[in-house]
């Protein structure tokens, strides 16, 4: 998508601001469940941002896997732990770890701004430029490659998922 239309910019700015708002709410809520709900809102906003970048497939993954399944796991973990005590011992204290963390965040942001400000993208352009993707649609492009050229990694992914299933069962299930 070549940015430029008014609708695009309105959608982008609205979604980006909502995402930032949700992210701030995640780290300021005292109730972890509320934080989790705002994290879902944040994930949905990021899915819309992916759509604006013409990445429909990643947007679908973002909604189904992250906002759906991963957040369910997060909420389960919150419910598995006792959150009541965490809520009471909430206090802001300055520690060396926080100072170092803030410093690293500042460096990361400086790098991000530098990277965005640098207009020329180094490296070669591949076969699938953004214009090409916009033309054929991302899911078609991904599907066309995944099931032909990258067939082997795709089938190996099923083995990986199988290992995940077996691991989950072995770790959580007692022998009877």
């Amino acid at each position: 998508m070549i940015p430029g239309t008014l609708f695009y910019w309105i959608a982008f700015i609205f979604t980006a601001l909502t995402a930032i708002f949700a992210a701030v709410m995640v780290i300021t809520r005292r109730n972890p469940i509320h934080s989790a709900m705002f994290l879902i809102l944040n994930f949905l906003c990021i899915a819309v941002l992916y759509l604006l970048l013409n990445s429909q497939f990643i947007a679908i993954i973002q909604v189904m896997v992250y906002a759906g399944a991963i957040m369910m796991l997060v909420i389960f973990v919150i419910m598995l732990l006792s959150v009541e005590e965490e809520k009471r011992t909430y206090k802001i204290r300055l520690s060396p770890a926080k100072v170092i963390g803030v410093l690293l965040v500042v460096i990361l942001f400086a790098q991000l701004i530098y990277g965005v400000a640098q207009k020329v993208v180094p490296g070669e352009w591949g076969e699938f430029t953004p214009e090409r993707i916009a033309q054929i649609g991302e899911i078609k492009a991904v599907g066309g490659l995944l099931f032909t050229r990258y067939l082997f990694p795709f089938e190996v992914a099923s083995i990986l998922l199988l290992v995940g299933i077996i691991g989950a069962v072995i770790l959580s299930k007692k022998e009877r």
Binding site: M72, V77, L81, K140, S158, L162, S172, K173
Partner: protein, 118 residues
Amino acid sequence: MLIKYVPVLFLLVFAIFFAVFAVFFSHILGPKRVNPVKAAPYECGMITLGPTHQTIPIKYYIIAMLFLIFDLEVIFLYPWAVVFRKLGLFGFVEMMIFIFVLLVGFIYVWKKGALEWE
């Protein structure tokens, strides 16, 4: 390009509107005659004891984890369905192999009794 997603936007707006409308107007229009019995969390049944934020048993977690894995399987079906006609029989066979491997996993889970509620 983005014009395709306008129906989604409409759906979102209507969903938010409906939720806000229902809560707001029932709050405005509904009569409020509160008495202590009505205001109790459970009008019928036992009065709750102890904290309400109880830790849930770990057995829910295995179901959630297995759901996550099969959810990832479903994700792969989506681009496959889009290019299915182009791939033809070849695409059908490779997806069947993919699903078969995960079906083995599913049978393992079933036989191991991980889906049993105990």
